[in-house]
Symmetry: C2
Subunit: 394 residues, 2 copies
């Protein structure tokens, strides 16, 4: 065992212990596990204990973790539900992406000055907006399950809209990253992005047929999740290397391709074991490791407060507003808006992407983390209230 | 996504696809999956298709894979069974380690000349012997299960002896590696090795109490396998860094510490998902990647043939012989000898270790692979024959 491998194993030992311990602690405080894992990363990283330094090795493991998370997210797409509530959900998702995107962009500009089209500052504001686009519906789903309302129309609409807004959010991110390249020709970026989706659809059609055959002939065998993971890796690489599209888009596409398999749950379960045992903690900790607390100042903190408020309000206004226009009752519209306002992994992944393109300072991760924590605490409380008798007068 | 991460993801995609496809192909040919995975590595590596090059990144992932495999091996120790058949099994294991160790050492010397105590050649021959020590009992266990004989006395003895010979084999390896250091003081090496086992026992005692508490209070929760993996990483690092003991020894010790937990099977299942999805294929493929076929010559091939024969014969003679002396019937003694002659992962891990200490040429991996394939094919055939009526006359 050479020195480097030894360090990797040492780092992994520290990361898994701290991430799990703080994840559990977070759960005790009714905050999502990931928030605890990020804080664990902050603690063991250069900001505090200096036990672990972020290395290329850990970054690559974190990237594998992100690919697994996005693959899982794609896999959990429920096509049948999507078809049923498709149109309404799509409209809600589209508005629910647009409003926060614009609101976030304007918020950044309000704080750091308006910038000309195409300048770095302009892209920074767009990226800030794009972080706000994707809903993470797991907290909402859990709350609705607890209330026994997961099958009603409002819940189905929320679940579908949350999936569609992932897709739209990722497309927006893909486009912004494509345009960001100073030599990018807008049409060419659009064309390559479209081409990738055409390519993924084509490959997806063929691959799905093959998987379906194996799924039927050898259900619940290891080959299915393994080949699924290989597909996620393959599409991630191809997206980035040949189409200039974000690798996570490829991983998400791989998940969507396989989401209608009978064994899609089986694949998800196996992926999740890999995620929670090792790659997930490394990813969330690495966010903490990259966050430099020394750059935190009152300006950043003030921005964070506004970021959290704007982030939540934009979803309630966007999704709730359009729901009301589409003839949902006021109370149901509010439920939809509140249900859509939770953020989670995807927001972090987008923020991570911004950091890697040097379009965000590590300090701003704080805003994203605060938004995740705040929305995860407030959503269940508000939802529970909206489902009580008292709220009937709304 | 920077270039390197992209390459890692591309490599992982190729490795998972080829490893699984060839693993399945191997199974169709009644050969263990791992043989197929190694051949997949050979095929995609520099020897043939040149699709993947062995990188530091892959080496570190392979190392994580080995730690997981050894942790799993330790976890599968059945303490109750060990206590029941302990004494007889220990004697069988000890002789079953000694005979192949000596036979392998002599074989190497016969081919490459006798070497003075402490010379490099001397260590190469000792290492060659140590590769032959550890039985991999999974094929035998599967065969005995198929025959419905897994619970009989012979089977229990074989299973226990196989576990004990892993422990003895790893101790032998640890000592040889320790002594190999030109400046090693034999007594100090022995002392450090002993100290590590004392340390592991002490830590193990405490850690086991803590795990038992959690196991009872929160059975089947994710924290148990995660913290188990952290323990494996931790002991691996500590073994190597502070005691100069092989990291795999630490991982194995971590498994033994936790093997009596109620949830030890649960931990093993979760570890196995991580192993078979990604780290296992990377490990077995990396063996193929490191094997340089261009150095294969008739001498190596001739050596391989003898290596396979000596490897199998030494276990039959050693284990079977001592069983006969301990009053087992001739037929049962033969069953024990044959049951103990299969080799697998552990032999590969030891061989890998030899390669990393430059005490083996990549070409000799061929011998190890051939031994694994040959013993895995011959053992079930011979065992089935020994359990038939016809063999009663033996």
């Amino acid at each position: 065992m050479d020195f480097d491998t030894g360090m990797v194993i040492r780092d992994l030992c520290i990361i898994t212990i701290f991430a799990k311990a703080f994840g559990l602690l977070a759960r005790k405080c009714k905050v999502p596990d990931v928030a605890g894992e990020i804080i664990a990363g902050l603690l063991i990283g250069p900001s505090v204990l200096k036990l672990v330094e972020n290395s290329d090795y850990l970054s690559a493991m974190a990237e594998i973790g992100v690919i697994m998370l996005m693959f899982s997210a794609g896999l959990s797409t429920n096509m049948r539900q999507l078809k049923k509530t498709g149109l309404k959900a799509t409209v809600i998702a589209a508005i629910g992406v647009t409003v926060p995107l614009i609101a976030g962009t304007l918020l950044y500009m309000a704080f750091y000055g308006r910038a000309g089209l195409g300048s770095d500052e302009f892209y920074k504001s767009l990226f800030t907006g794009s972080i706000l686009t994707a809903t993470s519906v797991s907290i909402t789903a859990q709350t609705l399950k607890d209330l026994g309302k997961i099958k009603d129309e409002v819940a189905t609409t929320i679940m579908s809209a949350a999936i569609i807004d992932d897709v739209i959010g990722i497309m927006v991110l893909t486009l912004i990253i494509g345009f960001k390249d100073p030599e990018a020709q807008p049409l060419w970026v659009l064309a390559k992005t479209l081409l990738f989706f055409v390519f993924a659809a084509g490959v997806g059609f063929l691959v799905y047929k093959i998987f379906k055959f194996f799924d039927k002939k050898y259900p619940h065998t290891r080959r299915i999740p393994i080949m699924g993971l290989a597909l996620a890796f393959g599409l991630s690489y191809i997206a980035d290397e040949f189409f200039g599209v974000a690798d996570i888009t490829g991983a998400f596409a791989a998940g969507v391709i396989l989401c209608s398999l009978k064994d899609s749950d089986y694949i998800t379960r196996k992926m999740d074991v890999n995620s929670y045992m090792i790659f997930g903690p490394v990813f969330f900790c690495s966010i903490g490791l990259k966050t430099d607390l020394s750059t935190l100042d009152t300006n950043v903190l003030l921005f964070s407060v506004f970021f959290v408020i704007v982030g939540m309000a934009a979803k309630i206004l966007g999704c709730g507003g359009i729901a009301k226009i589409m003839k949902y009752s006021a109370r149901d519209s509010l439920k939809i808006g509140v249900g859509m306002m939770t953020r989670g992994e995807v927001a972090l992944i987008v923020a991570q992407r911004c950091l890697s393109f040097e379009l965000m300072d590590g300090a701003y991760f704080t805003s994203v983390i605060l938004l995740i924590i705040a929305s995860s605490i407030i959503t269940p409380l508000l939802l529970k209230f909206l489902y009580t008798e008292k709220a009937k007068s709304l």
